[in-house]
């Protein structure tokens, strides 16, 4: 499935994070990496007069940036470099993903996140609202993970709600492509008003999560093995912290129930996870029919 991966590149740290993650995923799954820079359409506004000379300069500069990026990526990853024009970065990337029939878009998620944890930047946010293709968010610091590490594990975050189906499918396929072990996780937060019987509530939620995982495992195609973990904590953040994470791991989550069909949108659980996750997250559209 993952045969082409689009990397939304910008010549800054966030772009370097995206490039490193894209390179690592492409190397592990033997995919072709399409490194795309999206330049603004000059004539999109009506204030600044378009200037061919400046556009030429921008394009020249972007070529330079792409060449530098390509050199940094090395020859280990099969790659192609592209410059595209669009009204916005997100729009340009989605169009590029369609153009190359790519199955994944990788962007840097970071914007001043603290201590290596990602807080979502406006670019990634726009993309999550516009894309019908799974989007991988590379947290700050992804550029320091070597490509040779590959993908050491795929974790699918399975919820009870709709969307879990496609997360499961894509996790399985990605694990197969990258030859990585698969782990299914169900997050449980026990965040109750004071006075309620915490133990009982905890028991009920955990039992529910166990059921979910069991159902998910049963849904796995024959021949696929997966470990399953229920993570508990007072909050989703704590539940995420309670789990152990590999440096080379990738997490898949489904998009929000509120998202339009086959469009992405980060739900509240996923946003909370993103805040704590030390590893990249791939957001999968609710239904990829």
């Amino acid at each position: 499935m993952v045969t082409r991966i689009v990397v939304g590149y910008t010549a800054n740290e966030s772009g370097a994070d995206a490039l490193a993650l894209g390179g690592r995923l492409a190397a592990a799954s033997e995919a072709l990496l399409e490194v795309v820079m999206v330049l603004p359409i000059e004539a999109r506004g009506a204030v600044v007069p378009p200037d061919t000379g400046y556009e030429r300069h921008l394009k020249e500069r972007s070529r330079g940036w792409l060449a530098e990026a390509s050199a940094r990526l090395g020859d280990g990853v099969e790659q192609a470099l592209h410059i595209r024009y669009a009204e916005s970065f997100a729009e340009g990337l989605v169009a590029a993903a369609h153009e190359f029939d790519a199955s994944l878009i990788v962007v840097g998620a970071a914007r001043g996140g603290l201590l290596g944890r990602s807080r979502i930047g406006s670019v990634a946010n726009d993309l999550l609202h516009a894309s019908d293709v799974p989007v991988a968010l590379a947290p700050a610091g992804s550029r320091e993970v070597p490509v040779s590490l590959g993908v050491t594990r795929i974790t699918g975050a399975v919820g009870t709600r709709s969307g879990a189906g496609s997360v499961l499918d894509i996790s399985v396929r990605l694990a197969r492509l990258t030859h990585a072990p698969l782990r299914l996780v169900s997050l449980v937060s026990i965040d109750l008003p004071a006075g309620m019987d915490e133990e009982l509530a905890s028991l009920a939620s955990t039992a529910h999560a166990d059921d979910v995982l069991e159902a998910a495992r049963r849904a796995l195609p024959a021949g696929t093995t997966a470990t399953a973990v229920v993570a508990t904590g007072d909050t989703i953040e704590q539940a995420v912290k309670a789990l152990e994470w590999h440096a080379g791991e990738v997490v898949l989550v489904g998009s929000s129930r509120l998202a339009a069909s086959s469009r992405l949108f980060l739900g509240s659980t996923a946003s909370k996870m993103l805040r704590e996750l030390p590893v990249p997250m791939i957001v999968v559209p609710r239904s990829t029919s």
Binding site: V47, D51, E55, H57, A67, I83, Y85
Partner: protein, 523 residues
Amino acid sequence: MTQQEPVQHHTEPHAPLTTASAAIDGKEGGISKKGLSAGSVGLIGAIVIGISCIAPAYTLTAALGPTVSEVGVQVPAIILVGFIPMLLVAFGYRELNRRMPDSGTSFTWATRAFGPWVGWLAGWGLVAATILVLSNLAGIAVDFLFLLISQIAGNPEIADIAANPFVNVVTCLLFMLGATWISYRDMQTTQKLQYWLVGFQVLVLVVFSVAALIEVANGNAFDATPIELSWFNPFAVESFSAFAAGLSLSIFIFWGWDVTLTMNEETRGSEKTPGRAATITVVTIVILYLLIAVSLISFAGVGTGEYGLGNPDIQDNVFFHLAGPILGPLAVLVSLAVLTSSASSLQSTFVSPARTLLAMGHYGALPEKFAKVSPRFFTPGYATIVSAIVASVFYAVMRFVSENVLWDTITALGMMICFYYGITAFACVWFFRSVWFRSVRNVFFTLLFPLIGGVILAVLFFTTLIDSMDPAYGSGSNVFGLGLVFVLGMVVLLSGVVIMLWQWRKRPAFFRGETLSRAVAED
């Protein structure tokens, strides 16, 4: 940047590279719709950009007073005549832009034609002129902001706060900060909104003029002056000095119009679109200017009374003072029109020094930092911030040096525009010297038009320079017995020379012509 790429910043890509762009290179990638970047401005879009760059509401409120003080009632004549040198030079601009599209415009073209020294000074002239106008724009915007607040609050005293230099400078710096932020992030209003804003601006100016004429007809005018045909006769201006000073101001009022000619050779539609956009823009602007000039002169006269256009206290910002007496409660519309006009003009004006500084950095005429492009917003980030800081410092200093800062910067600005436009016009003539007589078209567009335009601008530049030594020139502010306008002009030009010599010591490669060599048009 140009066909010649002497500065090698990067290596060749390892991997194949594709670009979906028909508009920029023409030949590669084929005609593909998604690649069209530059070539998608339609006729209306081009006119709107043109008008919003000229910013008629802002331009007139700033320039009408100083022009009246030079030529009296003959302002309409000066507006008509002032367009001629602008048009002639714009033709040269267009030829150069077609042959060597480059973000450095005047700097790059003058360097190609006359070598690094003249080129450097042309670039300096452009940067200085645009920085002067940035500070003036922000100053006008500050006045109107307070006026708007006072009109809304119904308290006339609030408008006077703008006269307090500290409040004024602080507000102005905040404006600059906002404009810098917007320019750095390249946040443009959408075309639709801009259409409304420009339409609103034009409509308000028409209403303003018509209201003034009605007041005259009703006998309510401050100093009703009957309209005469002689207002349109340039020969009725008293002296050549006054004529020259008026003309250099009228260069300023048309400044920005040239973008409609040069902005896009591949405008959507047909080949005729850019020409038509330029024509429609200029006809609209000239009619608007004439209407306002005639109606305001006939309402307020050119005397020095309270609302007279000759009153030095109101001359640097005439709409500010006349909107109330003419429109009464509707005066708030004028404030809104000037504010929105200054705001969009502030943004389009920011682009020009930043791009020229970027080109100068790129070719090694300034530190390489200036060539930095923001990787996220694709704007010349460093150059934008430097321009903003210089404009802010300039405004703050000038506000304390001269009470009539707005007025004097406008006059000095006219001089700087003559300087760099003049050099650009001559650069066009010289660059195309080998092809002058290849066709009748070339004779006019690469030789006669830019040559005549350049000579007119040169005469204006030197006349203004000499006349402005008189301490009574312009607003009458003076430094050591020399007119402030002269001092301003000389300080700006001489500091350019000093910085140029310093850069020559630090970065000799550019001055040896190694990064951007002289050239002549071929074929």
